[in-house]
């Protein structure tokens, strides 16, 4: 077994008595691309929220490398290398694509540093490179608010890439995309998964099949099954609650 990058143990959170995630154990290895699937309300998004600090769990532990993420707040978690993409694309609409990528770059996140920040050549190169990867090189000067839904999804992935995270948490990255865009995104994810770990929440089973190394199925806040795509798809319990007969 290769090295673990993320370990989530006995994680529980309840909202007004309703346990959205219930005693969950979840491990991600280095360089792994994991897909998390499950019916609505299974706790998928809540799981990501707890890893990235958006929601505080009631019990359990979340460790990323040597950091105890439960003691840290959102921007600290981001700074140690966890990137989060939200379900509805969250980009800075009033800034250009270039500016969106630029401020996502991890250097100079303090007051004085960002006030007197000088853009260096290597940053321009990095922005160009990421923009090309996310298929947005032609629209760098457009305001992000003018992009199509799919392009916003790509931009948000690009913003994460600028952060150089070791763990990417992607919540429904292909929602609202055309078939062609989905293919491109699958290629993109396969390409960027080299050298980092990615957790993807997705409903589109064809897409999951294209990218997943391993699939985790959640149901009612608990782990239902885990394994390769084929194992999971032939699992009786998974078919019962999620895939259907």
């Amino acid at each position: 077994m290769s090295e673990l990058i993320l370990s989530v143990e006995d994680l529980t959170v309840s909202f007004d008595g309703f346990k959205a995630v219930d005693g969950l154990n979840f491990y991600v290895e280095k360089d792994e691309l994991r897909c998390v699937i499950g019916p609505n309300g299974a706790g998928k998004t809540t799981l990501l929220d707890m890893i990235c600090g958006k929601t505080k769990p009631s019990a359990g532990a979340v460790r990323f490398k040597n950091y105890n993420l439960l003691n840290m707040i959102e921007y600290q978690i981001t700074r140690v290398g966890v990137g989060r993409k939200f379900q509805t694309p969250s980009v800075y609409e009033d800034l250009t694509v270039f500016e969106n990528l630029e401020i996502s770059d991890p250097r100079k996140r303090g007051i004085l540093g960002s006030l007197f920040f000088k853009r260096e050549q290597d940053l321009l190169g990095k922005i160009d490179q990421v923009a090309a990867q996310i298929f947005l090189a032609e629209v760098l000067r457009h305001k992000a608010g003018r992009l199509s839904h799919g392009q916003k999804q790509w931009l948000e992935i690009g913003m994460l890439l600028m952060q150089d995270p070791e763990l990417l948490l992607l919540d429904e990255p292909v929602a609202g995309m055309s078939a062609r865009e989905r293919e491109q995104t699958a290629e993109l994810l396969n390409r960027i998964s080299k050298g980092r770990s990615i957790v993807v929440i997705e409903h589109d089973m064809a897409f999951v099949r294209l990218i997943a190394h391993k699939v985790t199925v959640l149901h009612q806040g608990k782990l239902l099954a885990e394994g390769s795509m084929d194992q999971v798809q032939s699992d009786e319990r998974v078919i019962d609650v999620y895939l259907g007969h």
């Binding site: 990235c52 707040i73 959102e74 921007y75 981001t78 700074r79 990137g83 989060r84 939200f86 969250s90 980009v91 800075y92 609409e93 009033d94 800034l95 250009t96 270039f98 500016e99 630029e102 401020i103 996502s104 991890p106 100079k108 996140r109 303090g110 007051i111 960002s114 006030l115 007197f116 920040f117 853009r119 321009l124 190169g125 922005i127 160009d128 490179q129 923009a131 090309a132 090189a137 032609e138 760098l140 000067r141 913003m159 952060q163």
Partner: protein, 396 residues
């Protein structure tokens, strides 16, 4: 594929040069303002009217700050009068002590009280100068205090609130209460603050007689110089990486945390900058008008400052200066001619601007420009009526 990468590189380099499309009004806006303030007004106005202009320009400092925090930071402060008042009162304390020490009747009484007491303290039977007045004997304490104390207070107040994620309308209410509290405290503690009359009757600043025409002109130019400096500093901030992060925070504060920034720190910083501007404005106001008054720290003046920024255009630093001068002049005109209608006029103006000109006069200028551009080049690509950088809509 390679071509795509290369043209992307070109686009990036080009966009790095001028991130925001800047036309002549933006490029030369500061220059035009400087010419107006430093040449046109002094040459065309008499000393009395120039003094009025100086008064409005002192208030323009607050409006420029409000553009930064409201237009770009999304923080609607209804308490800029507090910081204006702090600067104003600190300057007034210094001037009062200087005037008192040169006053022969106060000197005659000083054997009673141990030191020269400002006249209003004597009238209120205060027999000793309060300890916190003492440092204001020194100009070397007063001037740094005007520049440091209000921003420091603003930063601490704002950071404490924003860190706990108190924001939006709740923060507006807090600032509103602060300005109410400050004016109530000043009025209530008449013996040490001058009460509702404020602090007035100054004669000199560092020995310079303030009543001469030369001194008045000189102070006018200093005010203009400082104001232009503040506008320039503001636009430097907005063009920096910090300015972009600020816009990002205004539009999607929650997302910014996941870009690795601490939004509370950035919001508190820009709030402190606005407080600094307001404090400088307050100090210049007091030197020129010869008065520090609770009527300039309360709710009404604080709200009027927001109106200056709204009329000028809440996304335009330069517009804020025009807004302050125009609304200020209108106020003088109305209160000279139809005293009782002034408040209705302000209310009407605010409604008009919010409903019809959400980006104020600067936004109007931008719209006219965009229309002209379309007329001039009807075949070229559709011109986006790009506002400087910003969205419409009041206080998010």
């Amino acid at each position: 594929m390679l071509d795509g990468v290369r043209s992307g590189a070109a686009a990036a380099t080009a966009s790095a040069g001028s991130m925001v499309s800047r036309d002549w009004t933006q490029k030369y806006g500061l220059l035009i303002l400087a010419v107006l303030l430093l040449l046109v007004l002094p040459l065309s106005l008499g000393v009395f009217r120039l003094g009025l202009a100086a008064k409005y320009l002192s208030l323009a400092f607050c409006a420029v700050g409000i553009v930064l925090i409201w237009g770009y930071g999304g923080i609607l402060s209804l308490g800029q009068g507090v910081f204006f008042g702090l600067g104003s009162y600190m300057m007034a304390m210094f001037l009062k002590l200087e005037s008192t020490s040169a006053d022969s009747s106060a000197q005659a009484l000083s054997s009673f009280f141990g030191s020269n007491l400002p006249d209003f303290m004597v009238w209120n039977s205060v027999e000793m100068l309060p300890w916190w007045w003492e440092p204001f004997h020194s100009v070397w304490f007063t001037l740094p205090a005007i520049l440091l104390l209000p921003p420091l207070l603003a930063f601490m107040l704002a950071y404490a609130n924003f860190r706990k994620r108190v924001g939006g309308v709740y923060f507006s209410i807090i600032t509103l209460s602060l300005s109410a509290i400050m004016s109530i405290v000043i009025i209530g503690q008449q013996g040490v603050t001058g009460g509702v009359n404020g602090i007035n009757d100054f004669r000199t600043f560092l020995g310079i007689n303030l009543d001469t025409d030369e001194a008045k002109r000189g102070m006018y130019f200093i005010t203009c110089g400082l104001l232009l400096l503040c506008v320039a500093a503001g636009s430097f901030i907005l063009r920096s990486r910090l300015g972009k992060v600020l816009v990002a925070i205004r539009d999607r504060e929650d997302r910014v945390r996941f870009s690795g920034y601490d939004p509370a720190l950035f919001k508190a910083f820009i709030f402190a900058v606005a407080a600094l501007f307001s404090s400088i404005g307050g100090a210049m106001f007091t030197v020129q008008v010869g008065l520090a008054s609770p009527s300039l720290v309360g709710i009404q003046p604080s709200v009027e400052m927001v109106i200056y920024a709204a009329v000028g255009g809440r996304l335009s630093l330069i517009g804020a200066v025009y807004g302050a001068v125009l609304v200020g002049s209108a106020k003088t005109f109305f209160s000279e001619n139809f005293v009782q209608y002034w408040l209705y006029f302000v209310g009407g103006l605010f409604i008009f601007v919010v409903m019809l000109l959400p980006d104020g006069l600067a936004g109007l200028l931008g719209r006219v420009r965009a229309r002209l551009a379309v007329k001039r080049a009807p075949t070229s690509a559709p011109t986006q009526p790009e506002r400087p950088i910003g969205e419409t809509g009041i206080a998010k």
